[in-house]
Every structure is written in C-alpha cells, then in structure tokens.
C-alpha cells in the first residue's frame, strides 16, 4: 500500500514510506527534531510548534508534514532557531521555579528543551492569573506547572478513548499588542493559544470519572499531572527501573517497575510506580496502579514444603490458573509427563479447544493478526468480548483505529457500554441477545465474505436469509413550483405604477411516499439490528481498506463454541478480515500451547493459585494457602501475550520462599533455575529455542517492538471439511440476565489484592437498572441461577447501561463462577436478603 521513498534530512538520505510524518521518519533514523506535543501513534496536536523544519525552502511542522519522494529537509535554519528559542522562552513565562519540589524531579521536557535551546534570559511577560491546583481523584493537576501541550488530552482521546480531558478557558488578559510585531511568528501564535487555555475535565466537575488508566499523567512532559498516590514519595533518579511485562491480562504490556528501598528504617525494595514506553504502549489502570500484589514476607517454610512434596506424591490432579509464566507451565507439563497428573484449567482449556477447532479449518495454529494490526486497520468488528475490561489494550487499538486512522467499527455485545459508545461517532454498538454470536458470524460472512470462494452450501444457507420485501419510503424531493405573483411596477414609458403579473419559480421540498422493493436480511432481525443498519454500514464502510475482527471469551465458552470457532476461521479465510482472539487471562495463550489439559478432576488435587486439597498460592495473607509461591512480579520468566509474543519479565521484588522449580527439583526434575526452561519451550508450538538471558526488551526509535520474540504461527494440515452447523434458533436465554465480567482495572485475585485498585467487590448494576428496580446500591442480595447461588452486595456502575447485571470474577471470595455453566451469560433471579 505505502511506497518506499527517499528523503533527505540534513544531508542524510533516508528511506521511508510515502505519507509518513517527517518527525517519525527522522526519529526512526536517529535524527533529532525537537518536539513536545507530538505523541507517536496519535494525531498531531500542533500545540508546541517547536518541531518546525525547513522543507524545500518552506517552513513546515515535522509532526504533521507528510514525506514525499525527493524532499530536502533542514532541521535548523536561523529563523527556526529564533522561533524555537522564543517558544521556549514563552513556555518559561510565569512557570514557577519550584523544580526542587516538582514531582517530575528532572525528568522534565521543559527543563531539557530550555537548556537545549540555550534560554538564559527572558524577554516576554504577561500578567498571570490565579491557577490553583486540583485534586481530580487519582490524579493531581497543577495548572501552574502546565504548559498546555495537550499531550494528556491527545492521549486520552486518541489512545485511550475516554475523552475525559479537554482544554478550558484560562481567563487571562490578552497579550501585549506589541509582541505581535516583534516576536517570531509561530512563537506568538503558539503563545496566543497557550495564554487562553488550561486543561480541564470534560464532565464539568472536579473529579475524574474515567477508566482511570493514568496514561495522561505518564505522558505529561512536566510535573503538572501526577499520580496522587505517588506525589512527593520519591525523586525519579532514586528509582531503579526493572523491565517487566504486566502480569494482569493477556495484553502483555511493556512496563518498568520503579523500585527503591521502602524507607530509611526498612531497606527492603518497594515498587513506587509503574512506567511505560508511552510512545509505543499504553497501559490500563490495572497495569499502572496494580503493582503491589507481591507475596510479602515469605520465608522458606520447610515443614510446609515437605507437606507439599507429600501432597504431590499423593495427588493425581493439578488445578491452576493462567497467571503463571511459560516456564512454570512447562514445569507442570513435565510433572504431568513424569507422574501422570491431570492438569486442570477450565478457562485455558476452553481457549485451547477453541484454538484447536479453529486450526482444523484454518490450517494455522494461531490467529493471524495482532493488536498493532488492529490499530492500523480501518474497519474493526468486535464480537463476544466485553472489550473495555477483558483486554483494555484491545479497546485502545480499536479506539486508535477509529480516531487516528479514520476508521470505523462495530461492537457486538449484549451489554451496553457507554465507554465504547463514547469512543467515536464511527463506532456502532449493537446490543444483540446472548447466544446470537453465530448469527453475527454468519452476518459477517454474508456482508464481507467472498461468495465465489465460500463453500456453496454456506452461500446457499446465507442466501436463505434474504427475501424481498416492499417498504414505503418517504423521500424529500425538491420540486419546482411556479407561481404567478402580482407586483407593482413602474412602467418605464409612462412613469406610472401599474400592476404586472410576474412568473416566479421556487424550489420547494416536498415529501413523497414511494413503495420500494428492498432486500430483507433475516440475520439482521435475528441480532436485533436497527432498521437503518444497511445505511449506517455503508456510511461506516466508506473508504475502508483493511479489516480486523476481534473475538473474545463469550465465544470460547459458547454452547456451540466449536461451530463458532469454525465460523471464525471461515471469516478469516474467506473475507478481508484479519483475526485476533483475546486470550482470557494473563498467560492463557501460553498455557494453551504448552499444556495438555484435562477437563475432569481426580480424587486429590493440588491447586496453584486456586483452591484445592493442597493449595500453592502467591496471594499471600488472607488466602487459604498451604505453601507460598511468588507472584508474577517476583519471578523471572516469560509470558505469552495476545500479540503472540513471548515477553520476558524480571524480578521487581525479592522473594524468600520456595518456588515451583524447588518442588520439581525435589520430585526429581532437575534444573537450577526456573528460567532454564525458557530454551526448552516446545518449538513444535512455535516457541524458539532461546535462553532467557538472550531475550531483548526494548523498543527501537522506529517503534519496533524488540521484546522477547514473536511466536511462529505453525501450520497445520487443514481438513477439507469446511462445513459449519446452522444456527440453532432454539437456543436462547430469557430475561433477567447476568454476565460474568470484571469492572475495568480488575482481572483476578492479584488485582483485587492491590491497594490502589479500589473497585468494590459485588454485583454491578447500571444506574438505569437500579432506578427502575427496588434495589439500591449497597443492598445485600442473593443471586440465584440454575447452577448455584451467591450472596453479594450491589454496586452501582455507571460504565454500563441496560439491564444485564455484571458478576465479577476478580474476587474469588464471591465465588461467582458457580452461577455459570461455561457460557458467560446466564439467567438468574436476584432478591434481597
């Protein structure tokens, strides 16, 4: 699609793509162009204007000027230098000199560029206005320090999609008129805009109501937006960075744990904050604030260890969750090979089966695409996943596509989600009924499938949904109406006024009813799409070239999961759609590839992070635990992400107890360190024979991800049988639905354990639902489905609408899984206790 071209920056010949921003091309080739307001992956803001360059003799902004073949660019001319210096002087006008107590503690782009431009004196002044700092909840905003580069606004809009921040009026007096003449032009224009605005909240209050990702604070170039919890805790230079992979969901985001001693009295390391390469990866609130889930104060308890060995000798089943590393999964697999344990992990098993069924039809073991491709595609369909909470990064990719890439998307999900609706006007949400996922997949095949290549029985089946129907359309037609009007006119000959008849024509809109024969698609009625779906879709599909389909856990646990998997494979095979599946938990994909899972338990089971007859747990105090294990942030190892990458993670906080490898050693599977298994991960499943220490962990200046390695998508012999089952229309759930999904920022017991993620446990009802029912937030209720019942408190949730009640799984004390029979939706009755 894009063509390779050559441009010349400061005498250096550079290869880049046609249409790439000059700034990005320069950065990718290690050429420095100063820029403050630009964020890679986001649309240019043009607030700072400091990235001025000279393109073939004309000044342009490097962040939004697109490369064309043969361009000659100079990053500095006399005039540009003068502009840049004036811009930095302007930024320093009225900026408080409190760098000593500013939380940016030197990681400050204002400081850096002020020095870079050699600003040693100030020539401008304007009267300041009171700018008090605001406590916005988890963030603290100090407008006094703010340089209104709008990076926070841009990140929130273009990456995250919450649109919570905006610029508001500053209320300052106008700049001195003489400046317009004497100042460099761009510096004046930039100052004029800067002097009129500060950052405020879109909801008009003084408290943030967003998905609390904290990305705005991390992109802030100065100390204006900071995390309230981190404020004044530590200077940046004291923190040492531990490169790691976030252990909460399957996105596998790059993070660094910033670590320092706890206090003067306590030399033990403590994580103070989590940072990320925000130009290339955006975190969610769980990744950023959910870092203190380590298993603290553990010592080697020999008695418990010996009991564990006894238990392993006695057991025939190991139950575990997917919050483990690839290496641990391999240890479990080796234990299984030696002792014949059954490995039970229902959530990974469902995903594994789904992948298997998909593979028999598609001929590849893994789905073909990743989130980066989703972000770069122009039309996205999300199906069977509560996108914002299942995998926040998938939501960011979706949002990035619709806002920056001028894309559009359809979000199919029974639970109405105001966050998704609020992303962009080009996002169409369709709240279908549960169990209609197959119908939607058929609809995608119908709308986008290559009918010539599709198996004929499927084409016929799809055609059977179509019928002709006649509808009456009211159209507005403009009609020419000629009226004869009498006017008084002066007769030129006589000079007298007389009445003359004049013809006047006018275009008058007129409503006309017409009977039109249109195509009626029964699939649309089945999923409950609006009548104007066709029209909306045509509008959304304008100028769209690349397509992505994101599917999630609703399909893996669907009663007809096998058929869903085959349909998904068909969509990938016979349409332009590229496919991404969202693995349910942190390392579900890794577990699904490494382990041979069973679905039934034996008589005596060992649980790893899940309750069983003998429980190994990294959850520490407060959990039922027979032997302590390290949490993900206390281990080195690799995690397999949704992007099909094997990402390394390191030890942020020391751990004094036993690890799974010690148990394996005691049972005769010898290996000095857990990471010795990294090179032994099964190459037949796409892993590489690489040692842990040789895995890289960084991003290049061009934004290329150099973390670990990408899994090879192993081919598989595809079966010739491409048949899929028809929609079982008898399948349906009635009213009073519950849905198994977590609130944003919560994934598992590990996120529930952290101190900063304070989401209440309970069952989540939308405000609308609470208003129309006899329930109030805080009520204790009994939720009863045909599978089981639980008692919980009601929590009001304004991040959902509609009448489906969300039951979270992050708090294992709630024991919410008993209500469901695999599928994430169920019927339940709720009554007060």
């Amino acid at each position: 699609m894009s063509n390779n071209i050559t441009i010349n920056i400061d005498g250096k010949e550079i290869q880049t793509q046609e249409g790439e921003f000059i700034l990005n091309a320069a950065r990718a080739n290690d050429i420095f162009i100063p820029a403050i307001c630009y964020l890679t992956r986001c649309s240019p803001t043009l607030a700072c204007r400091i990235c001025l360059v000279d393109v073939d003799g004309k000044q342009a902004y490097a962040c939004n000027a697109k490369s064309k073949d043969g361009m000659t660019i100079s990053t500095s001319t006399e005039n540009i230098e003068a502009e840049r210096r004036a811009i930095m002087e302007v930024y320093d006008v009225n900026h408080p000199l409190q760098c000593g107590v500013c939380d940016q503690s030197g990681e400050c782009e204002l400081q850096n560029y002020t020095l870079e431009m050699g600003v040693d004196s100030q020539s401008f002044a304007v009267r300041d206005v009171p700018r008090d700092s605001h406590d916005w909840g988890h963030l603290h905003y100090d407008p006094g320090l703010c340089i209104v580069c709008e990076r926070c606004v841009t990140a929130c809009k273009d990456m995250i999609g919450d649109n919570s921040l905006t610029t508001i009026a500053r209320g300052a007096e106008a700049l001195d008129a003489t400046y317009k003449e004497e100042m460099p032009k761009d510096a004046y224009a930039m100052w004029n805009k800067l002097n009129k605005s500060v950052i405020g909240l879109t909801n008009g209050t003084d408290t943030l109501d967003c998905t609390s990702c904290g990305e705005c604070a991390s992109v802030c170039p100065v100390g204006a937006l900071v995390d309230t919890e981190f404020m004044y805790k530590s200077n940046a230079w004291e923190l040492s960075q531990v490169p790691a992979t976030c252990g909460h969901c399957s996105a596998g985001c790059q993070i660094t744990y910033d670590v320092k001693h706890t206090s003067i009295e306590n030399p033990e390391d403590k994580i103070y904050r989590v940072m990320n390469e925000w130009n290339y990866v955006s975190l969610c609130g769980a990744g950023r604030y959910g870092f203190d889930y380590h298993n603290a104060n553990v010592v080697k308890d020999e008695v418990a260890f010996n009991k564990a060995i006894e238990a392993f000798k006695k057991a025939d089943t190991i139950k575990f969750t997917s919050t483990i590393t690839n290496e641990e999964a391999l240890i479990l697999e080796k234990l299984k090979a030696k002792f014949g344990y059954k490995l039970v992990n229902n959530e990974a098993k469902a995903f594994q089966t789904f992948l298997g069924n998909y593979a028999t039809l598609s001929g590849t073991r893994l789905y073909g695409s990743d989130l980066k491709e989703v972000a770069n595609s122009s039309f996205i369909i999300s199906l069977g996943t509560a996108l914002k909470s299942d995998n926040p990064n998938a939501r960011y990719a979706f949002n990035n596509s619709v806002t920056v890439n001028k894309g559009a998307g359809i979000y199919f999900h029974p639970v109405n989600d105001p966050i998704i609706d609020g992303l962009h006007k080009n996002v169409l949400s369709i709240a279908h009924k549960p169990l209609q996922e197959e119908a939607i997949l058929y609809l995608i095949l119908d709308l986008f499938g290559d009918k010539e290549a599709l198996p004929s029985d499927i084409v016929d089946y799809l055609a059977s949904f179509h019928s002709k129907k006649t509808i009456t359309v009211t159209e507005t037609v403009k009609e020419k109406v000629i009226t004869i009007v009498k006017e008084m006119k002066v007769n030129e000959e006589t000079g007298e006024e007389e009445e003359v008849e004049v013809e006047k024509s006018k275009m008058v809109p007129k409503k006309v009813s017409k009977d039109v024969e249109v195509d009626d698609n029964a699939l649309l009625t089945m999923i409950g799409a609006e009548d104007n779906f066709d029209e909306t879709l045509t509008k959304l599909l304008k100028k769209k070239e690349t397509f992505s389909l994101v599917v999630g856990a609703d399909l893996y646990n669907h009663p007809n999961a096998k058929n869903c998997a085959r349909l998904v494979a068909l969509v990938e095979k016979y349409s332009k759609f590229k496919l991404v599946m969202i693995p349910t938990l942190t390392n579900t994909l890794g577990v699904a590839l490494i382990n041979d899972l069973s679905s039934d338990e034996g008589s005596y089971s060992i649980g790893y992070n899940t309750k069983a007859d003998f429980t190994l747990s990294a959850l520490g105090d407060g959990s039922e635990c027979d032997l302590d294990m390290p949490a993900i942030n206390q281990q080195e190892g690799t995690l397999t992400s949704i992007n099909k990458r094997v990402n390394p993670t390191n030890v942020a906080i020391s751990y004094g107890g036993y690890v799974l490898n010690d148990i394996a050693n005691a049972l005769g599977i010898d290996s000095e360190n857990t990471i010795d298994y990294t090179a032994q991960l099964p190459t037949s499943k796409g892993f590489r024979k690489e040692t842990f220490d040789s895995l890289p962990d960084y991003y290049t200046n061009a934004g290329e991800e150099m973390r670990g390695y990408a899994l090879k998508n192993m081919g598989r012999k595809a079966s010739a049988d491409e048949s899929v089952k028809k929609i079982n229309e008898a399948l349906s759930l009635g009213e009073n639905l519950i849905y198994l999904a977590n609130p944003v920022r919560q994934f598992s017991d590990f996120t529930a354990k952290t101190t900063q993620l304070d989401e209440q446990s309970g069952i989540y009802m939308s405000e609308e639902y609470l208003e129309n029912s006899e329930f109030n937030a805080g009520d204790s209720v009994k939720v009863k489905s045909e599978n089981g019942e639980i008692t919980a408190n009601i929590v009001s949730d304004n991040k959902i609408t509609g009448s489906i009640v969300l039951i979270p799984s992050f708090d294992s004390k709630l024991n919410s899984e008993v209500l469901f029979n695999g599928y994430r939706f169920a019927n339940a009755s709720i009554e007060k206790v």
């Binding site: 004196s121 100030q122 002044a125 004044y232 200077n235 004291e238 003067i264 009295e265």
Partner: protein, 204 residues
Amino acid sequence: MNTQAFNDRNVNDSYYMVDIEEYPTDGWGRFKRVIKRTFRGELFVGLWVVLREMLKFNIHTIQYPLEKMPIGPRYRAVHEMKRLWESDAERCIGCGLCEKICISNCIKMDTKIDENSRKEVSEYTINLGRCIFCGYCAEVCPELAITHGGEYENGSEQREHYIDYNGMLTPLEMMTQGKQQEFEGFGAITPHEDARMKKTPLAY
C-alpha cells in the same frame, strides 16, 4: 570583582630558588653527613628551646578540651540545618539533591505529601560515620538549608549524644535571638551575585 591577580600566571617575578646544600650521592658522602649530624648537638638545641619556653610561663598551647580555638567560617564539620529568617520554618524543601550528590552515599531522606499538599521531609539521616565532609551537599543545596557547622567533636560514649535531624536544626531560641550563623563556605551566595543576574521582565 577584580580578577587580575588570578589572571597573572607569570610566576617568575615573585619566586626565587632556595639555597640548599647538595645531597650526597655516594656512600662516603652519606657517611660524612651522618657523622656531621650526630656530633653537632642538635638534640640539645631542641631540648634548650623546650626548657626555655617552659621557664618563661608564656604558653601558647591551647588547653583542649578545656579551651577551644574558634573555627573558621568555611570549616566543614558536622552538618547543620538552617531555618528561614522570616518564618523560622525549616529551609529544607526535600528536593533530594544532597542525597543525590553525596559521594559516600550517607544521606537518606523520606518524603511525603503533607496536609497542605506540600512536600514534607518525614525522615532525614546523615550517616556521619560514612561522611567524608566534602561539602557537596552544602554546595548543591538550592535553599542554603544544609550547611556545615563548626562542631567537629564526633566521639561519645552514648548513642543518645549523637545528633538527629532535630539536633541539626537551628534551635528556635537561637532564631528569636537572631543568632543563626550563615555558612560562608561552599554553596553560599557570593557577594557579586546580584550583578551577574539578568532580570526577568514582569507584567505587574
């Protein structure tokens, strides 16, 4: 300031060579030097000087520890934390630069946000056993808060005698008496500072 004296690097004018006897280079020369020194009676010259000064009863020795010499204003002994003249509040803002610059890693501080949303130093320690009294902390301090003092006696039989953060702070009664001493050593404001500054324009 007139810096001419520093800029004149021609040392020949004011320096002269000292007349020193040649060093012996062979064994015989060295033997002669030993004999000469041994029988010149220099020992008795020294003894006579001591005896003479003793009999004069005009002793220059300081009777330490009963007597102490005044210490120079730029001497770098145990640290002090200064207070603001205006409000008696601590000058330290908790920026952590002293902690950063300390080459023997003996300064540590804990900071937190206080009830007025300001940065507060909740804990501050200097390990005087490690400190090499280089003066970097006083030099880097942007607030003239940490300085060196004249207290050079670091020995004690009891732990309680060792100072803590409050011991380093200027006592409040000294503030009311206006007796806080400004440090003149590293990091102090030089007299010509005002002349070097460029003024920032203000729109008030």
